[in-house]
């Protein structure tokens, strides 16, 4: 807890639902993010996972003040940035940047790569650390920095004169990354950085992100729905469900021992590209669909779909996110009891393994 670059406490983002033909009235709120605490140590990667509608992207944008914050605080570099406005907020952008999901949509289609990369420099100037190499702020220095940044993300210098539509998805994402990194920020929030890319290209971008992190000592918050991707790149993972953080754990522990029933179901739903594993594992299937974030269920938000649901507490008490082991936080009344194996999931939710005896068992055991 000593050196957290970014912290959030009780963060809420509610969108008003408006209705009415003559006068718009607010008739309710979509509670996209509804009370989230998190801390991101300097130089680490924090992964946010969850399914669509869980509020992970909204949270990512709210951390950068790109969403209006309803309640709670965001602290960046030890400073409360929740209330920053105007110039001060703009200056903050030098230090905290964003990489977007859809590289086509997030690049202005009428802007050349050169103009795209130098635009942040024109606004904020070269970073202090770059002055030595590129000299004083000038169009020439900016262009030189842009070219070197482009090289760093693995694109040829000739790309400077081109336009977004002339690149493939992976190349566009590299441009998006170059744009985010050109100011030498400390924090980069990446919202689904690879989900729009082809499978064979995803790894290139993931490796690029890791390499840049090592090189510049960056701090990342990576938002993604693909738990395998998040697990690969993150040190700590937060699992979100309906605007809440339901579990937070070091990346290795989360897969080895998920504590929240939702995490368990999520893990078991993700297909693994290995028939042996696939055939040998037992699945937990969730009931039905995600409830509406405008009208979340009472008590534990997950209780309507939870295979471990109990009659006591679940529907009535809202479980707090509590630390039950070092570095492991979970929002479930029964986490310890479930971990100890004293509560079983409802039978209907469990799909037995194809190879009950584990045909591949001998093979896997050999490793």
């Amino acid at each position: 807890m000593t050196d957290n670059l970014l912290e959030a406490a009780g963060l809420m983002v509610h969108y008003p639902i408006r209705s009415g033909m003559v006068v718009n009235r607010t008739i309710g709120h979509v509670k996209a993010v509804d009370g989230v605490d998190l801390a991101v140590p300097r130089g680490s990667t924090y992964g946010l996972v969850g399914e669509s509608g869980c509020g992970k992207s909204t949270l990512g944008r709210a951390l950068l003040r790109l969403e209006d914050i309803t309640a709670g605080t965001v602290t960046f570099q030890g400073r409360d940035i929740t209330k920053l406005r105007g110039e001060e907020l703009r200056k903050l952008r030098r230090h905290a940047q964003m990489v977007f999901q859809d590289p086509m949509a997030s690049l202005d289609p009428r802007q050349s790569v050169q103009s795209m990369l130098t635009e942040p420099l024109r606004v904020h100037g070269l970073a202090e650390s770059d002055r030595a190499e590129f000299g004083k702020n000038s169009a020439k220095a900016h262009a030189a920095k842009a070219a070197s940044m482009l090289e760093l993300v693995g694109l040829p210098r000739s790309a400077l004169g081109k336009y977004p539509h002339e690149f493939s998805g992976g190349q566009r994402q590299r441009i998006g990354i170059a744009r985010a990194m050109i100011l030498n920020p400390e924090l980069v929030i990446a919202d689904e950085p690879v989900s729009a890319l082809d499978v064979s290209v995803q790894a290139q971008v993931l490796n690029l992100l890791s390499d840049l992190q090592d090189r510049f000592g960056l701090t990342y918050v990576v938002v993604a729905h693909d738990l395998a991707v998040v697990r690969h790149i993150s040190d700590t993972i937060g699992v979100m469900y309906l605007g809440r953080m339901v579990e937070e754990a070091p990346a290795d522990d989360l897969y080895r021992e998920p504590l929240h029933p939702y995490t368990t179901s999520l893990l078991s739903a993700i297909p693994v590209p290995d028939p042996v594993v696939e055939d040998a594992r037992e699945r937990v299937l969730l009931d039905g669909d995600l409830p509406s974030p405008a009208n979340p269920p009472s008590g534990c938000r997950f209780h309507t779909r939870c295979p471990w649901r109990r009659d006591e507490l679940c529907a009535t008490e809202d479980p707090p996110l509590r630390e039950i082991a070092p570095g492991r936080r979970v929002a479930c009344h029964w986490a310890e009891t479930i971990a100890a194996g004293r509560i079983e999931p409802h039978a209907a939710a469990v799909v037995p393994a194809k190879d009950a005896e584990g045909a591949g068992g001998s093979a896997t055991a050999a490793d």
Partner: protein, 319 residues
């Protein structure tokens, strides 16, 4: 600066065998390029036959309009041959007057050529005025938002519910019968159209990720709007402006028909010529047909060009 490991760089695998590299040179992406979206749209445009037809008509129209003093055999609106015209009789075509005379005793060919000039002036001026007015309202609404937006857009809605011809008539009534009143009237009728279009287009762009990206880069709001939102919203406006040039030419004719045109009956203006000739339609149909044809062909040219532009600029047709 050193390069990252080749995995991350990705594009070029380390060492490629020579023959393979040579084979790839043709098939794999080359370094040419740098075509902006405008250039790409232009390329699509020249491949569209109806765009070519439209462009040729528009170009011919522009040439005739701009070079009218050179092309026309006589000066416009001269009634020096009025003595040859009687209420029941117009002189036939002659070498001096290849298309004959109009009912006021002017040379018809000259009048038609100068009519192009008149149409161009009215069309361009009214479109530019309408565009400026609409852009002002649209940006006002888009920039301030809130109740200003509501107020402006409600006003625009009301104006849109009045047919443009009537709007033009109402404005012309205020301006009075002056030579420029037609332009002002037609421009005024286009203001709400442009305002609605530009605001809608800007609103759509404002929701795009790249605008969020620009904000997240720390750009000032003004730079975000003027540097990103506005240029990207222009496509539909350009299309509309082209189409409105066609509408303006037709609307001038309609306003002339309603008696709203210039007070001078001999002025070389297609709509007016058409209307004035209608009483002689049965005996001298060419007096109606020729200016009618000029209007229709010019309007067709701008419409074809506008529709082709719409297709070329449509993001859906981009690959």
């Amino acid at each position: 600066m050193t390069q990252l490991p080749q995995d991350a760089a990705g594009v070029t695998p380390t060492e490629r065998p020579p023959a393979l590299a040579a084979a790839m040179a043709g098939g794999v992406e080359t370094d040419e390029g740098g075509t902006s979206l405008w250039t790409a749209a232009l390329k699509r445009l020249v491949r569209n036959p109806s765009a070519i037809v439209g462009a040729v008509i528009v170009a011919a129209f522009l040439i005739v309009a701009l070079l009218a003093p050179v092309l026309a055999p006589y000066r416009p609106s001269t009634t020096e041959w009025a003595n040859q015209v009687t209420p029941s009789r117009l002189p036939a075509f002659s070498p001096q007057h290849p298309l004959g005379l109009d009912p006021f005793g002017s040379d018809l060919l000259t009048q038609l050529i100068y009519g192009a000039r008149q149409s161009l002036i009215i069309g361009v001026v009214s479109t530019v005025l309408g565009l400026l007015g609409g852009a002002l309202l649209g940006i006002l609404a888009g920039a301030f938002g809130g109740w200003v937006d509501t107020l402006v857009m409600r006003l625009v809605d009301i104006l849109l519910s009045i047919p443009s011809l009537l709007l033009a008539v109402s404005v012309a009534a205020i301006v009075g019968r002056r030579p420029e009143s037609l332009m002002i009237a037609i421009a005024a009728a286009q203001v709400p159209v442009f305002a609605r279009l530009l605001r809608g287009s800007m609103l759509k762009q404002r929701g795009q990720d790249y605008v969020l990206a620009a904000t997240s880069l720390g750009l000032r709001r003004r730079s975000v709007v003027m540097g990103h939102v506005f240029p990207n919203s222009l496509g539909p406006v350009i299309v509309q402006a082209t189409l409105i040039l066609a509408t303006a030419i037709i609307e001038v004719a309609a306003l002339s028909y309603l008696g709203m045109g210039s007070p001078d009956p001999t002025v070389a203006e297609w709509g007016r010529m058409l209307v004035k000739a209608q009483e002689r339609l049965e005996s001298y149909p060419h007096l109606t047909i020729l200016p009618g044809l000029c209007i229709a062909v010019t309007a067709l040219g701008f419409t074809l060009l506008g529709e082709a532009l719409r297709e070329a600029l449509d993001p859906k047709t981009r690959k």
